[in-house]
Amino acid sequence: VSGALAGIRVCDFTGQLAGAGATRFLAAMGAQVIRVEDPVKQGRWDILRGTTPYVDDRRGIEFGGAFNNHNIEKLGVTINLRTDEGKQLLRELIAISDVVAENFAAGVLARLGFPYEEQRRIKPDIVYVSNSGFGHRGPYSAYRTWGPIVQAVCGLTFSSGVPDLPAAGWGYSYMDHHGGNFMAIAILAGLLHRRRTGEGQWIDMSCTDAGATLLGPLLLDATVNDRPLRRPGMPHSSHSQSPRMVPHNIYAARGDDEWIAIACRDDREWRALANVVDEPWARDPEYDTLDGRSAKEAVLDAALDQWCSVRDKFETQVLLQDAGVPAAAVQRPEERIEFDPATAAWGLWPMVHHREIGAVRVDGLPVHFSETDWSIAHGAPCLGQHNDFVFGELLGHDAEQIARWREDGVL
């Protein structure tokens, strides 16, 4: 047993990414995460079980690529909580756990018979973290969300886009990642508090609250200066208002749907860019100052766009970086995963082995610990894969009993 979090045991009801992402981090750092799934529905409460993408033509609950990505290094058990014996098994599991984590709709775990009060009766210092779209308190607590709904309601969708066009929003469930990440923070903070005080607690997380902490400094322009973000010509999110930078945009590069991002943080970087461009328009003295560039941002952007559009995005990136100007090609997945020396050197795409899928790459972690680095080698658990280990070795039931439970539909 190794890893920063070795010795921590999590009774894990999380699913999708917004919950599974939390216990993914804990598992990669060495915690023992025991994923509890419903045998009757074959774990399909987590809609990613068995859904796209797939490595080949095989289909079924064990072959979902996203599920595998989000559940690496976890153990998997099945418990039918409709049965009394199943409920008793869960009590036994909670009794040896440090954490209960779930991201059901608010109130579901309580209806299954395991509200916080019951968990605390079983394990007085349990750290229980619930994570739902709107939290367990407040008028919307029963409302249902997915990542895109969370992002819409918390303000993140609106603040991504071009003035006078619809909100572009986030082209993926950004808040599922950070729902999971904030949940991991909540779990670890709860554990650290318990270590010092001996006290457990119920930490209730609302993904929309968490998302609304991420809106950035322009939110204060609304609350302090009464300048709402919803206004004609609302801020262009590829520009930078705080701090103000010009140029600061995404420009066309040579080829179909190829782009490059360029930013100048000060006048010196603008001069460096102008020297690389080396065309008459770039020597306009009005561009020497930020105010001058701001006043003619559209004209400057159009000229720079033209200049970039006949050049390869990676060549421009190198030209500008060599001159000390922040520039980055807009990378496609293939480019950043297969050809980017930064991700390769980092070891960002570890290969795991999944019992049914076989070998497949997954997301790594964006941190390296000097003493207890993460380890990602095992794929997601198959349904009930670790029933014998958890109910036998951890909880001390014999093989016959486990076999009987299997036959009786308890597991």
């Binding site: 859904t51 993926y172 300048r227 701090p243 991002a261 610990f369």
Partner: protein, 426 residues
Amino acid sequence: VTSALDGVRVVELASDHGAFAGRLLAGLGADVVLVEPPGGHRARRYEPFVDDDPGVERSLWWWHYQAGKRGVVLDLDSQGDADRLRELITAADVVLEGEAPGTLAARGLDWPDLHPSNERLIWASITAFGRDNPRTHEQFTDLTVLAGGGPVWMCGYDDHSIPPVRGGGNQGYQTACIWAVMSVLAALWWREETGRGQLLDLSMHAAANVTTESGSYEWLVARATVQRQTGRHASVHPTQVTRTLGTDGHEIHTGFPPRSSRDFETLLDWLDDVGARDEYEATFWLEMGIERGGVQMSEITNDVEATEIFFAAREALNLIASKMTAYEFFIGAQERRLACGIIYSPEEVLTDPHFVARGFPTKIEHEDLGRAFTYPGAPFHMPASPFVANRRAPHLGEHQADVLGPGQSADARPTGHETPVPPMPQ
């Protein structure tokens, strides 16, 4: 009642891209001491300013990211101040810094220099590509992090002649900061077990790369490339439009397509309620959906009938939305257990009754101005160890004597209201 990180001392070297991590650690109860250079960190000059009146204590960027921290000024180019920083760090639990790799080493103030005198020290370094990487020395901003790291490719519009978009709010920086906080907490746990600290090397580029959901795993698993779409997930195959408007012109997200027979019954009833049943031309399909007992998401591409039913459900939502404001639609849908959302602008979130009832909007006193302002609040409700970030950002050198001892006052402060943002340090 104490907070989770009460008694934990964090020394944060001021940076644009690490500031949010310090803010979160302060919220968890850590004593975060923010170290700035003489004259203040350049972010003190970032727009916008309170009342649009510039000044080093008036930047809303500064207020937003530095709330909850204490502040000192140290000139790391002077031996005396470098020694003071060394002492601070020797007594600290966590260092949080985003210096360009090599900058601190050149002053003898990097992790290898300082951890021998404090083996419990946890050192979180947030850089663009990590401390030792082929791209370590590239220049960056939040925009370039998100462009090179994957998110930008996935955000924008169906019309690909429009450039892809960087989402707002400095998410490239903030994503790395969230990972930094997760990592610091894990390292604190291990330190409590073993008495030993360690170095945490965070890469913003890596953080963006592994925070793109299907963008990465569609490629890793199936070698497929997602394509951006207006206001919805980038996808290998085009998906239904999910955006519509209320009568007030505000945008609505119509969510995952309704797909159970109960959903379809609900839609027919709601159409009746708003008097739109006669206008609606696809009743037939919804009734078929009810007869089928609902449809599966997986049927949407290969079952013509199921596809028609999905479209009919979406059209019903769009028609209903055209009869009411976006807010009425959001509440009406959710009260009927349909997962739809209103697209709020950021300030609208802070006045919504749900967020108000949860106590999310937080007043922070600015006693120096005799005013209090509303800030976003806690990411989660943690009753036994509350999340608290209710102290305004520090003034320049405000806690010099408190932190460094009596007689240590800050260097002369600049007074110029008109002071522009200084150039990037070379």
